[in-house]
Each structure stands twice: as C-alpha cells, then as structure tokens.
C-alpha cells in the first residue's frame, strides 16, 4: 500500500463509520430543519498501467494498483423550511477533484419558493440539469450502477450552475408532466492534460459556461415509465495555463509571431464559443425490470473541444435484494472543430497537437455488475467494465503527458481495458 493510499484511508474510514453509526437522517422537532447525507466507499483497478481510469476531470485515477480515488465520496445536505412555501437547501460534497485531492465544495446552495403546488422557483447554486440523472448522479445508493455512465456523463464537466430555475408540474390523469426552464453560470476545474509535465502546467484547467439557458421536459407515466427531453445552450470558455503559455510562446516568435500566434489561438483557444447539449432519456422500473437509456449530443462551435455523441442502454432484473445489470454505451467524436494540421513549427506544433489529441475521446464500454441491497440504507455493488478505445483516441483515460512517447503510443493503438470496481453506497 502506497503512502498516498494511506493518506486517503482516514476519509474512507470516516465515511464507513458514518455509514454504520448513522441509521437515519435527522429532522428537527418542529420538522423545519432536516439533515441527510450520502456517500460511497469504492475501490477500483484496471488491467493496464498505460493510462489512468477516473471520472473525466479528476486529477488522478487508478491503474493496475487498486485505488479509491474515482468513486469514494461523501455528501451532506441540509434544508430549512422558513415557511410552508419557502425553504433553503445546501449540499456539501467531498470527492476526489481536479487538483488530485479530496476537496469539499458546495454543490448546491439555493432558496426555493413553492409558489403554488405545481410551480416552484429556485435561486442560487442548483444542480446543472444536463442529464436525466443530473442531481443525484453522485448518490450511488440512488442509482443502479457503480457510477453514472461515463460515455454519456463524461461529456460535460460541470455539475452545478449559479442561477436558478422555474419548474411547473401538472398531472394529466396518472401522468405527471414537468417543465423546467433554467439558466446561469457554471465553472469547474478540470485536470490539466499536461499535469505530469512541470509544475506550472499542472494547474487545473478552468472551464466556464456562461449565459446558459436550458429547457427540460419530463413525463412520468403510470407504472414506472418516464421520458425526458433536455436542451441547453451557452458560451464555453477554457482557461488553461498550458494553452495560454503555448499561445504566448507562439506570439513571441521573432517576426513570425502574429501569424503563429493566430494559428495557435485557432488550434487551441476556447473563448466564449457557442456550446449546446441535447439529450433524450427513457427509464423504467416495473415488476422487477429496470431499464434506462440516454442519447446525448454535445456541440461546440469553435476551438479544440470536439463535437460528441454519447449513448447508453442499461437493463437489470431484480431478484429480491439482488439486482444484476448489463449496460452498453458508446462515446463518439463527431467532429474536431480545429484543423489537425496546426501549421505550427517544431515543438510548438508537437505540443499543440498533443493538447488537441486529448479531445479525441472516443470509446465504447460494456459493463456487467450486481447491486445488492445489503441493509436498509446500504447497497453493495460489484461491477466489471470492458472499455474499448479505437486507434488515435485516448478514450476517457487520463495519460500522464500527451507529448511523451509512451503516451503517444497509447493514443495511436487500439486498446481494450478492463476495470473492476467494488463500491459500498449508503444514505443517512
């Protein structure tokens, strides 16, 4: 066991203790204040030391050495009802983040006004509803599989939005329809592609989505079927030390500076470019059959971030407290929005191409696993994933340094990587 693993053990133990000692959430005497939480203690490993497996954006991951980083997390959520219609909610989530450390962050901090039984308005920091399972994607207990499908959920690195939403819910017979209009500003840190090269470049990249507006429509039918449509658009900006340094270096080349600088910007800069995300989802939970599927499209107008399409289909069957499941998914790069030949000479060209290459993320995944509802608040899951990445793709794997020979070899080869994960999810 490495020193790093040892450092992380206290967190895992604390999480496990919380799980065993806290058997119920807390509600104040008058019912106004409520405290609840969730968490996962998870361990995973792969059969390859070529690259790291993680949730896209995390500043580390697992290879042949078992690690708890990708899945282990703990969240605490508190809410207070000021009146019958006005409440406040905050959620603090600690997980392994872009900096390569476990860090707590406020996922949510919002005020909600339930104007009428059907109409609700929320203002503050809310969950960013890009997907069918946006808000509770980190709550392992509330989900069938160990983690949200990365081929789909790995396309968008932000999970919360500073702004608000208006949602209206109505019943048509036994069908419940919900429409939500949301908007705001998001930012998230993302592990730098060059984090393995020197300290300056290792700062996480900052991703900003501004002027976001989105609409989600959901229908829940009688008998456990539900259908969801979602669309959002906004402006994407990426602030990366390594990209900024490369562009500045290009501009500084004597006499050719303006030309090379413009080429470098064209190849690598993402600044207030139009971005959209569209998804359709279906889920079913009826007479022991569990089904879920999403089809999603990411579109970016300019810059190195690729246009992608991601989908998954997951099915399971409940045998008492055991739920075995199977899932297929694919992440496809539709279009890289920059020319593959950057027109930059020497090291500038090599480095620019290496940075661009991290946006070649195509892969497909086959997963089998089982969820066991071991106790009232605890689920245990064992999952096996086979991730197939085509040639000239990193998949969603994190390489140490995309300019290094070994990492370039990983990118250019077709690879199958197996991941095995064990997770204990709990709510309290």
């Amino acid at each position: 066991m490495s020193d790093k693993t040892l450092q992380r053990l206290p967190l895992a133990l604390a999480a496990l203790l919380t799980c065993l000692s806290a058997h119920a959430d807390f509600t104040s005497e008058d019912g106004r204040a409520r405290l609840s939480g969730f968490g996962t203690v998870g361990a995973a490993r792969t059969n390859s030391d070529d690259a790291l497996f993680n949730y896209p954006g995390q500043g580390g991951g697992v290879d042949k050495q078992v690690g708890m980083e990708p899945d282990t997390k703990v969240g605490v959520q508190g809410s207070y009802k000021f009146t019958d219609s006005i409440s406040g909610t905050a959620q603090l989530l600690t997980k392994y983040r872009a900096e390569g450390q476990y860090k707590p962050e406020f996922e949510w901090a919002f005020a909600k006004w339930q104007a009428t039984p059907g109409l609700a308005i929320r203002v503050g920091r809310i969950g960013a509803p890009f997907f069918m399972v946006s808000d509770f994607r980190d709550v392992g207990y509330a989900n069938t599989m160990v983690r949200p499908n990365l081929d789909v959920y790995g396309q968008v690195p932000v999970s919360s939005v500073n702004g608000g939403d208006i949602s209206y819910q109505m019943s048509l017979g036994e069908t419940v329809l919900t429409g939500t209009f949301w908007g705001g500003y998001s930012r998230a840190d993302y592990a730098s592609a060059l984090r393995g090269v020197g300290n300056a470049a290792a700062d996480p990249v900052t991703i900003r989505l501004s002027k976001q507006m989105g609409l989600n429509l959901q229908a829940e039918f009688e008998g456990g079927y539900s259908l969801r449509l979602g669309h959002m658009q906004g402006n994407l900006s990426i602030d990366s030390t390594s990209i900024n340094t490369l562009i500045a270096t290009a501009y500084a080349v004597p006499s050719l500076g303006p030309t090379l600088g413009a080429r470098a910007e064209n190849a690598l800069l993402t600044s207030s470019t139009k971005a959209s995300f569209t998804g359709i989802g279906f889920s079913m939970d009826r007479s022991n059959i569990v089904l879920a599927s999403e089809y999603t499209m990411r579109r970016i107008k300019k810059g190195p971030v690729a246009d992608t399409t991601g989908w998954y289909v997951m099915g399971g069957y409940r045998f008492g407290s055991f739920l075995p499941y199977l899932s297929f998914s694919k992440l496809k790069v539709d279009e890289v929005n920059v020319p593959t030949n950057t027109g930059l000479p020497g090291a500038l060209g090599t480095n620019a191409q290496a940075l661009q290459s991290t946006q070649y993320i195509a892969q497909k995944t086959t997963s089998v696993g089982v969820r066991w509802d071991a106790m009232r608040n605890t689920a245990v899951k064992l999952q096996f994933d086979r991730v197939q990445k085509p040639a000239n793709s990193n998949g969603l794997f994190l390489v140490e340094n995309p300019t290094a020979t070994a990492d370039k070899a990983f990118q250019s080869a077709k690879k199958n990587i197996n991941v095995i994960s064990l997770a204990v999810d709990f709510v309290f």
Binding site: S36, Y141, A142, Q169, S171, V427
Partner: protein
Amino acid sequence: MKNTHAIKSLVAAGLIALTNLACAELVVIVNPKSPLASMTPEQVSAIFMGKTNTLPSGATAAPVDLPESSAVREQFYSKAAGKTSAQVKATWARLTFSGKAQPPKELATAAEVKKFVAGNPDAIGYIEKSAVDGTVKAILSID
C-alpha cells in the same frame, strides 16, 4: 387417503390464517373535514412515492409515514405501490438528493398518525383498519 386430504386442507387453512395474521387490513385515512370521499391506490402511491405533492382535491398533501421498522409500513408500500422498502428508500434518496421533495413526516405509532391526521385538514396516512375511529376518515382499504 382421506386422512392425507384432511391434513392437506388443515395445512392450507393454517397457511391462510398465517397470511391473514401477517397482512392485517390497512386503510388510508384523511381528516374528516377533507372533501375527499375515496382515492385509488395509484393516487395514494403517487403522493407517498413523491410523484406529486397534490391531493386530488388540489390541496398540498401532508403525508405521514410509520417508522421504517414497522410491518404495517412495509405492507402499505408493497400493496399500494408494489415496492419493497429498499426501492422506496432509493426513490426517496433520488428525490431528496435532487432537492425536489422531502420524504413524508415520520411518526412513531399509529396513535400519533391518527392524532396528526385528525389535526390537519390536508393530512394523509395509513393505519390498521381496526384502529380507525371517528377522529379520521378512511378513504381506501388495502389488504
């Protein structure tokens, strides 16, 4: 031969009696002042599973649960919603941790549920049929 048959009948009768013992008849109760005369199991389960927060009368529902350890609660969810307690817990985890809704208020005993329903015009709860009295109104029977 005849004896075997008699024994079989006896065993069957015993099993039926046992089943009845394990599954006493439940009723869904509301405040006597509530305009509701009856509800379907689907309508009741929609409220207790967080699908809607509105009673068929249009008022915001105030649902009330028995503790997780209660056999009556387990029977209620399995019969009205067709869900095991683990499924109910996972559904509420989804709603709670998406900030959409909070699970029903939990009270320790049937007597407390009755008292709460008697004192709140929009309350809805469930108790064993044998515990019903004039302070509450039964609108659906579940057995």
